[in-house]
Amino acid sequence: MKAAFQELFCGFMSLLTGMRITLGQFFKPIITVQYPHQTLKMPARFRGHIELVLDPVTGKPICTACKLCERACPSFCILVDGAKLEGQKTKSVTDYKLNFTNCSLCGACVEACPFDAIRFSKEYNVVSFSRDGFSNMDLVKGLEEKQKAWTQERPAPTARDAAPPPDGPAAEPRPAPAPRQEIS
């Protein structure tokens, strides 16, 4: 009998404790981020879809179309094609297609690349009007904006600048690959 009353009383008090907790939470500030009015900043190692890296010296993608990423991908997402242009030692990429609908963002391609020519982008709200925008993502095209920005930052060379200096750029050792940078 006494146990029943005790259980009743303790039970009732537990209900009041629960109510007190939720009332406390009622008066606390909200914790959700109201997207799209507010957005979050992606951390440095965030895995968005992959993108080609621009060489800051030449303004062209570092990628030499060696196809190591294509072989490393577990989901067979990547199709690379390249050609050797005149006066270049190595091939350069002409076509880099990513099938983002199959990509599992595992990072095997990024790790396999010996030149650090691809990296994860920070894009999380990818949008397209057609399926092609995802299943046939053109990474070379995606680099066009950055290439434009790169050419704008450097003034066009004049006739005097066109003559290569004695120890011209071709004799310089190729610069170390750019470290992975955070793009916010």
Binding site: S14, G18, R45, R47, P74, S104, C106, G107, A108, F120
Partner: protein, 379 residues
């Protein structure tokens, strides 16, 4: 509490008696389990037979293991049970390391333990929120996810992903943890105990929850052994079976932690095992953060990995129970067979026997307390 009712006897030709009807808890339902279908033969409100039908999310992981090189299978491991992805990757990576004789540097082992235990806490939070929203209390789900965001942000900082990590590699980790992670982990350790107290006050001590779970869904230790149920299911039935203590792996022997065991065999016991496990995980993380050494995080791994022919196994204590990977290698760079022994499959197989004669609401509460993740069952 209503005792379980005896099932009505079958008719002369052996079919279900006339007064029963079949209720299909379809593959899509509001309860947060996943695509599980349960065919219930009901006598009014009582279940005479509850038959789980699985296979709606069978993705052929084991077959994929036979078609990819060892390293290419790593993304699959995270997706078998996406809520405790780190454990599953650990098992596969551990099996391959055992086979190839790869040494893992100690710092990598410590980081693996820290991330695994954080993942266990995150998985238990999802279980807690989902169980309570099954029972009708929709608020604790949000509170659990608020705390889980901290863990997910930590993981996003080290490997860039929030759910399917693919963080471990053969021989160590894909990249080292930075100071932000270590500081964030310590801050999380300070943040959690008051939150766990809030969970206790709001939910665990709540009389309505106690009435809903105590004495419901009795699963004896004998039934657990018969079906091979592990994890919180067997620990809630009084058997102290935890792979971290019984078959220690990684650096777990260096830590001092308890295995919560409750002898009552009911849903409340399983609930309490989960809640206590969260506290014990916090203890392990604290000790690991104190003991973590400096050093490299990647051991020596050959460029093209080939395992000597043979069978290799590795078992871990995942959030749901014992997860074991068995790989059979025939000397090539592609496995011959990858067998995944998942805990949810065994935990679900006892449902048919345990739910006989239960009333429908209790059977669903028991299903929630078993902590099932359906992709884990179907692989």
């Amino acid at each position: 509490m209503i005792a379980q009712k005896e099932a009505p006897s079958a008719g002369p030709s052996g079919e279900a008696p006339q007064e029963t009807f079949v209720l299909n808890l379809g593959p899509q339902h509001p309860a947060g389990h996943g695509v599980l279908r349960v065919l219930m033969t009901m006598d009014g409100e009582w279940i005479t037979k509850a038959e789980p039908v699985i296979g709606y999310i069978h993705r052929m992981h084991e077959k994929m293991g036979e078609n990819r090189t060892w390293a290419k299978f790593l993304p699959n491991t995270s997706r078998i049970d996406y809520l405790s992805a780190m454990h599953y990757t650990h098992a596969f990576v551990g099996a391959v390391e055992r086979g190839a004789g790869i040494e893992v540097p100690p710092r990598a082992e410590y980081v693996r333990v820290i991330t695994s235990e954080l993942n266990r806490i995150a998985s238990h939070m999802v279980w807690w929120g989902a169980l309570l929203s099954d029972l009708g209390g929709l608020t604790p789900f949000l509170y659990a996810f608020d705390d889980r965001e901290l863990i997910l942000d930590l993981f996003e900082g080290i490997c860039g992903a929030r759910l399917t990590y693919c963080y471990y590699r053969f021989g160590g980790l894909c990249n080292d943890v930075d100071d932000d992670f270590l500081r964030g982990a310590r801050a999380f350790l300070k943040h959690m105990p008051p939150r766990l107290k809030l969970y206790r006050d709001l939910v665990t001590n709540n009389i309505i929850l106690r009435k809903r779970l105590t004495g419901i869904g009795l699963i004896s230790a004998e039934m657990c052994r018969k079906y091979g149920a592990t994890g919180p299911v067997i620990r809630g039935s009084g058997v102290a079976y935890d792979v971290r203590k019984v078959e220690p792996y990684s650096v777990y022997p260096k830590f001092d932690f308890k295995i919560p065991v409750y002898p009552e065999c009911d849903s409340m016991a399983r609930y309490l095992v989960h809640m206590d496990e969260m506290e014990q995980s916090l203890r392990i993380i604290e000790q690991a953060l104190d003991q973590i050494p400096a050093g490299p995080v990647m051991g020596k791994v050959p460029r093209v990995l080939r395992l000597p022919p043979g069978d290799y196994c590795y078992a871990v204590e995942a959030a749901r129970g014992r997860f074991m990977v068995r790989i059979v290698s025939d000397g090539k760079d592609i496995p011959y067979r990858v067998k995944l022994r998942t805990p949810s499959f065994s935990n679900l197989s006892l449902y048919e026997e345990a739910s006989r004669g239960m009333i429908l609401t209790d059977a669903l509460a028991m299903l929630g307390s078993l902590d099932l993740v359906i992709p884990d069952i179907d692989r």
